[in-house]
């Protein structure tokens, strides 16, 4: 290609036609909403209400699961670890013992038959 070919110039008429070309075209509101929604879905412009509700729901479920687990652990420990008095006497679990506190009788006074029932129940739990 020659130098002259690279230097091809527009005619005044062509320049006028090019200058007269529209520079802008109106866009619809739908396009704006599409773009904003797409940006929101990619995590821009803060957290959307739906995403926030979902996050709160997940947090509540996790908290409930942790509470249940902790409650289960606490209950299990409370039931499994015998108190010093129980260890010494080899008596029934503390729940049974606690339910028996209204009774004036000591652990040694529990009838043999009832103590056997308690031991059988404890073995069943284990």
């Amino acid at each position: 290609m020659t130098h002259d070919e690279n230097e091809i110039e527009l005619t005044p008429e062509e320049r006028m036609m090019l200058a007269a070309l529209p520079r802008e075209v109106p866009h619809g509101d739908l396009l704006e909403e599409r773009v904003v929604r797409a940006l929101r879905s990619e995590g821009y412009f803060g957290v959307s209400p739906r995403a926030r509700n979902r996050a709160v729901g997940i947090a509540l479920r996790v908290a409930a699961a942790v509470a249940l687990f902790a409650g289960g652990v606490a209950t299990g420990r409370f039931l499994m670890v015998p108190s010093e008095a129980q260890t010494a006497s080899g008596s029934a679990p503390s729940t049974i013992r606690a339910s028996d506190t209204s009774r004036p009788a000591s652990s040694s006074s529990i009838p043999v038959k009832r103590r056997e029932t308690v031991v059988a129940e404890r073995e069943m739990w284990l």
Partner: protein
């Protein structure tokens, strides 16, 4: 230009309320607010620049069959995370158009399975329309081959230099000049209905 003072000496002051509030806010301020996550600032930026972007993208796509609005959406999705890189060295509109150009190029390559650079290698063979079917400028640009069309739009419509075009399109400045020459020749033939001017 010096405004003439009326005979009664009273100078009419345009009402400030007639100026839209958004016009007073600069692009730089809107960009900063949009980066900070302010959606209203982004929307204002969008409304201000999308009419030109949409026209530019539609013109670049020509008759490729691609949806200009899809490319505009893609452009904003690329531009928003990249706003932090905008350094006011050019106008925001020019910067946005360069992002739009890349989005349009990608869209055309995906649609036609072009390889990179293929758009600028193809030689166009065409039959000029009869003199009575001369095209207007917009139609003539739309009928150019993609490589010709892009360079002609960027240089003759948008006012980019060959160096800027070369940088945007990933081609040599000489290639840009050659493409422009061919584009103008074909465009002239389409406008006049004659093969050679």
């Amino acid at each position: 230009m010096i405004a003439s003072i009326p005979a009664n000496g009273h100078i009419a002051i345009p009402e400030l309320t007639a100026v839209p509030p958004s016009a007073a806010v600069t692009d730089a301020a809107l960009i900063a607010a949009a980066i900070a996550g302010k959606e209203s600032a982004f929307r204002e930026l969008f409304r201000r620049h999308t009419p030109h972007l949409l026209q530019f993208v539609a013109r670049v796509l020509g008759r490729s069959g691609m949806d200009a609005e899809d490319v505009v959406q893609d452009t904003w999705l690329r531009a928003y995370p990249a706003l932090v890189t905008f350094r006011n060295e050019s106008s925001f509109s020019t910067w946005l158009c360069s992002v739009g150009l890349r989005a349009a190029l990608d869209s055309m390559r995906r649609g036609k399975r072009h390889d990179a650079g293929e758009l600028f290698d193809e030689e166009t063979h065409f039959t000029p329309p009869p003199a009575e079917d001369r095209l207007d400028m917009e139609s003539a640009i739309g009928r150019l081959a993609p490589g010709y069309r892009m360079v002609l739009i960027l240089h003759d419509v948008e006012g980019f230099t060959h160096e800027e075009i070369a940088m945007q399109l990933g081609i040599a400045p000489g290639t840009s000049k050659a493409q422009l020459f061919k584009a103008r020749r074909v465009m002239r033939a389409l406008l006049t209905g004659k093969e050679k001017t």
